[in-house]
Amino acid sequence: MKLKNPWPIYFKKDVETHYCPGCGHGIVHRLISEAVEELDVGKRTICVNPAGCAVIAYNYLNVDCIESAHGRGTAVATGLKRARPDLFVISYQGDGDLAAIGTAETIHSANRGECFTAVLINNAVYGMTGGQMAPTTLLSQKTTTTPTGRTSGNDGYPLHITDVVATFKGVAYAERVAVNGPAAVQRAKKALKNAFQAQIDGLGYSIIEVLSPCPVNWKMSPIEAWKWIDDVLSKEFPLGVLADRRPKAV
């Protein structure tokens, strides 16, 4: 019999991930490794790893990796790409990382149209540090720092960072996807490939925001987490293409 899903060559073999059961990070890692393989850029890929649950993504992704200080992934990616424009650069970041402490770097690298791809894992919490409020935490959502639920009065509103950068001319491609089901995963992969292709074509900044389950901090089962993405999270953060400045095919 033939193996229908051969091991992605840019995913390390025989490592157990440290992620919690049902966590979205693992799925996105796999999609990235598949996409760089299919687009044949894996050998010249550098992935910037964030401070966040994905801090040791390098243990799983079988491409060159570099660690970034919390929030500075896009700055590191900028440095990489400016020094070696021939490389393929991914900045993998959490929502806290990219949209809180890294806000300035995100906004300005997008506005400059730096030619790399940001992958934003929006799990509506700070996973790594134990489930604190993230910029993307929903109103009323309970986290360890919003014990009675996020309120707009004290904590502000869920921040739509991808929508913000999507308005910038430097952004070639921006899409929001989810990974809570087979179809969603397929769409997510398509989106990643669109963004990666935009980078390969030198069109500028691209960003894929992924609504990603964090069952542990949401205090749900993995299945409930999927459902919550459909029923609640994606209502605040609707899926879809937010910017597409790729030249139209003729």
């Binding site: 157990e16 991930t17 440290h18 919690c20 059961p21 649950c53 040791i56 790594m128 134990g130």
Partner: protein, 183 residues
């Protein structure tokens, strides 16, 4: 006197609570006591452990590289921690989830059929308190009333949970040592 106990299991098994209850009871008995649990990336993937040190003088370090007692709630933790046990140390484990433990000639093994006991008590979540009762009996340093008080303060406001936890604790205490055919 200093006694070091490591509690280990998986995330949802109430490992940290066991440590907390026991440590606070030690405080009520006017011992010096420390409690420290694993945190951060180490707890991704669902393992959990904590260390409680109880002493009649100041405690230098809350960390126990070689504890005197290990309470293991599932097999992976028994396997990964057993080698840290001090020679002459005691391993207390949930024999319903741990069919066998790696061989070490220099330690004592105390199987506790905690899940079976919990079923008997019609309280699925009581395995940890049953084990704690057994530990209290085995270590024999903390007054049972202090543990009761500690359990009650942990479940402050949740009377029913408190009562059934105390009951489970007592069950583990009085039943110890359990007869265990698997041993």
């Amino acid at each position: 006197m200093i006694v070091k106990i490591l509690f280990a299991g998986s995330g949802g098994q109430g490992v940290i609570s066991m440590g907390n209850v026991f440590a606070k009871a030690a405080m009520l008995d006017d011992y010096y006591v420390t409690h420290i649990s694993s945190y951060g990336a180490a707890v991704r993937g669902g393992t959990a452990n904590c260390t409680v040190c109880i002493s009649d003088e100041e405690i230098a370090s809350p960390v126990a590289s070689s504890p005197d007692y290990i309470v293991a709630l599932n097999k992976p933790s028994a396997q990964s921690f057993i080698n840290r046990l001090d020679p002459g140390g005691q391993l207390l484990y949930n024999s319903d989830l741990i069919d066998s433990v790696p061989y070490r000639g220099d330690i004592d093994l105390f199987p506790v059929p905690a899940n079976t006991a919990a079923k008997t008590l019609k309280n699925d979540k009581a395995a940890n308190m049953i084990l704690l009762g057994s530990l209290a009996k085995l270590t024999n340093i903390i007054k049972t009333e202090s543990v009761h008080e500690s359990i009650n303060s942990l479940f402050e406001g949740k009377k029913k949970a408190a009562v059934s936890s105390v009951q489970a604790f007592d069950y583990g205490f009085s039943g110890f040592p359990f007869d265990n055919e698997k041993k």
